[in-house]
Symmetry: C2
Subunit: 193 residues, 2 copies
Amino acid sequence: MKLLEDRIVKEGKVLSGNVLKVDGFLNHRLDIGLLDELGKELYRRFCKDGVNKILTVEASGIALASLCARYFQVPVLFAKKRKSANLGEDLYGADVASFTHGCVYRVVVEADFLSREDRVLLIDDFLADGNALRGLCEICRQAGAAVVGAGVAVEKGFQHGGDGLRASGLRVESLAIVDQMDPKTGIVFRSDL
Amino acid sequence: MKLLEDRIVKEGKVLSGNVLKVDGFLNHRLDIGLLDELGKELYRRFCKDGVNKILTVEASGIALASLCARYFQVPVLFAKKRKSANLGEDLYGADVASFTHGCVYRVVVEADFLSREDRVLLIDDFLADGNALRGLCEICRQAGAAVVGAGVAVEKGFQHGGDGLRASGLRVESLAIVDQMDPKTGIVFRSDL
């Protein structure tokens, strides 16, 4: 999506350690007008799939998920991060290794809020190794809910998490896929290749 | 706001220890249509105050802040929770005691994203002891930003955090104020008294 790619080029900072800093508009300071356009585009791509719930993970997925859900007119469920590995009987949960934070955390949702009647669209701001989305898929599996696909703002294609998820059969729609990035030479998008 | 009060009566659960569970629509499963109405109402109350930024704290304030910001057409900045008390030179931060989690955490924002040019509306889903809002006020003070007020979905009036903030001069607009609640006798709103 050109709107997002242009913004990444304009304001994104490529740091060492494969870090792409876009916290000026995507995950700290939120450009709500931009996120609303991204949400609308994800709606356009998934509007025929019978989505009745959007599932994301706190914290930075919530804004995009909420703005996107306005178009779908469906509720958002956000998985909560827990330090503890304890999983009560009334929770679905999965362990997620975080690329950004270099740790493993548990994401959980209350069992009351997800069921086999649900057709779930996963939403997240970033896709790198794919661990967060895999965790959300696992939560849906536990609930018996169908996952219709995943909508992502920025995918770091060179980490291949998205490719792995697609190979496993998940429909992943990323609005910008960064296939190469370098502090000196800049960013190359998959759409450029 | 009657829409919210009715929903709290219908679906809120009063638990022991002064816990009001509204996670079916406000802070785990999000009723986006409802939150959009709450955001619109907060816009109505603050639209003449020159707001150019909304500040909230992760995670459960983000959805309401984002939907509200659509009406204002301003960006959202969400303060991030850190375990560490370390505060870099490029961050503004404050310590916040959490009623819900029984701990103290630090909330921070990057200094680049808040300045003395800003007229900030604080938004949060819940107001109990008022510690989160006090932390956000402190962050704005460090940045030299003006705080025009705070918009809150549910205030637990009997914990008097909101009253203290109002007494200190902050304009606090809560869309539902629970002044009494009891697992047996139910909920009394300030608007009923």
